[in-house]
């Protein structure tokens, strides 16, 4: 069996002020999966979301499993214009949250794109999400923002790092 080192840092961004969106663009198609690591939170109540390739159409959906500290539940939204990667796992006006997003087989041009994510925050809760972008295009741009029925800023100090994993 072949073996080769992978899990390569592609780009990183640390917010120096409260910011509406962060974009990773011109993403090479040379990997198999992408891993997006977010450490930090939102400036007020809100979930992180992603959009791909500047698509603002109603082509996103997600299913979430969450725990609030007192209850477990599940929810979903369909035909959305953005894809939530948090649900209770966000940092609300603090930096005490982690979100790890796995964007699977992002560069193939045959399948719609599926991501799985986990997020946690000691103040709000924990979640696991699966999300779908109904497009067969290779993902070359990722926009990250926050939303709670309207745009929410992401908190200063939040870090965003994108990694690529290449299969043999």
């Amino acid at each position: 069996m072949a073996a080769g080192s992978t899990y390569t840092p592609i780009a990183t961004n640390t917010l120096s002020s409260d910011t509406a969106t962060v974009t990773f663009s011109s993403i090479s198609a040379s990997y198999t999966d992408l891993v997006l690591i977010i450490n930090g939170g939102t400036a007020s109540t809100g979930n992180f979301y992603v959009r791909f390739n500047s698509d603002t159409g109603s082509n996103y959906s997600y299913t979430a499993l969450y725990g609030t500290g007192s209850a477990a539940g599940s929810t979903r939204e369909s035909s959305k214009t953005l894809l939530y990667i948090n649900y209770y796992g966000y940092g609300e006006n603090n930096l005490n949250a982690n979100t790890i997003v796995n964007i699977m087989n992002y560069s193939n041009t045959t399948t719609n794109k599926t991501l799985v994510a986990r997020a946690n925050n000691t103040g709000n809760g924990v979640n696991a999400n699966v999300g779908l972008w109904r497009s067969t295009a290779a993902i070359s741009t990722i926009l990250i923002g926050a939303d709670f029925g309207g745009a929410v800023n992401m908190k200063s100090g939040t870090t965003f790092t994108l990694y690529g994993i290449a299969a043999a």
Partner: protein, 188 residues
């Protein structure tokens, strides 16, 4: 990088930057395949990770399939598993005991065009010959109105080093074209 791989596996000790290696990949061609096997796995890593997208020929409308995993060609009732699942409306849990495989929820089926489920499976301390093997996965499928996300765990009651891994659909008889799973090794 150092802490990222560690955090994914919930490991306290950081690993080196070159410790995550691609071992093998299997992508299903036209016609599908009944199963995918990674064999002759070297014992040179500490942990293994399987990452991939999956879809089976299960025909039941508006439903999904799951991923079955077996080690070392063991088809006996030496496995168990647990899952915490969210179907978009409720959270639920399920388990299997003395099972002939470990079930990881979910992958997609033929119901939704071009939709594939995702699975990331961690196989911890797979080469250790002193303890049973424990795995976990994050997986799911979203079909824009249906789907499921799950946290899964599994156990193989055998102390042998894992040298081969078989993946197959739980209900469907074939993985569909473009299903693709890759095996990675993580050094300690």
């Amino acid at each position: 990088m150092l802490n990222i791989v560690s955090s994914i596996l919930d490991i306290a000790t950081p690993v080196s930057a070159s410790s995550y290696e691609s071992i093998a990949t299997s992508t299903v061609g036209s016609g599908g395949v009944a199963s995918i096997t990674f064999s002759s796995i070297a014992a040179t890593y500490t942990h293994l990770q399987i990452r991939g997208i999956g879809r089976s020929n299960r025909a039941t409308p508006a439903d999904m399939d799951s991923l079955f995993i077996q080690f070392n060609s063991d088809t006996a009732a030496n496995y168990s598993d647990h899952a915490l699942r969210g179907d978009g409306a409720t959270a639920s849990a399920t388990s299997d005991v003395s099972y002939s495989q470990m079930e990881m929820y979910r992958i997609a089926n033929v119901y939704a065009a071009n939709v594939f489920g995702a699975q990331i499976v961690d196989i911890l301390d797979y080469a250790n010959t002193n303890k049973y093997k424990t795995i976990r996965s994050l997986g799911g499928v979203d079909n824009n109105g249906s789907g499921m996300v799950a946290l899964n765990s599994g156990n193989w009651r055998n102390t042998a080093a894992v040298t081969s891994i078989l993946l197959k659909p739980a209900v469907g008889t074939l993985f569909n074209q473009y299903t693709s799973f890759a095996l990675y090794g993580i050094k300690g």
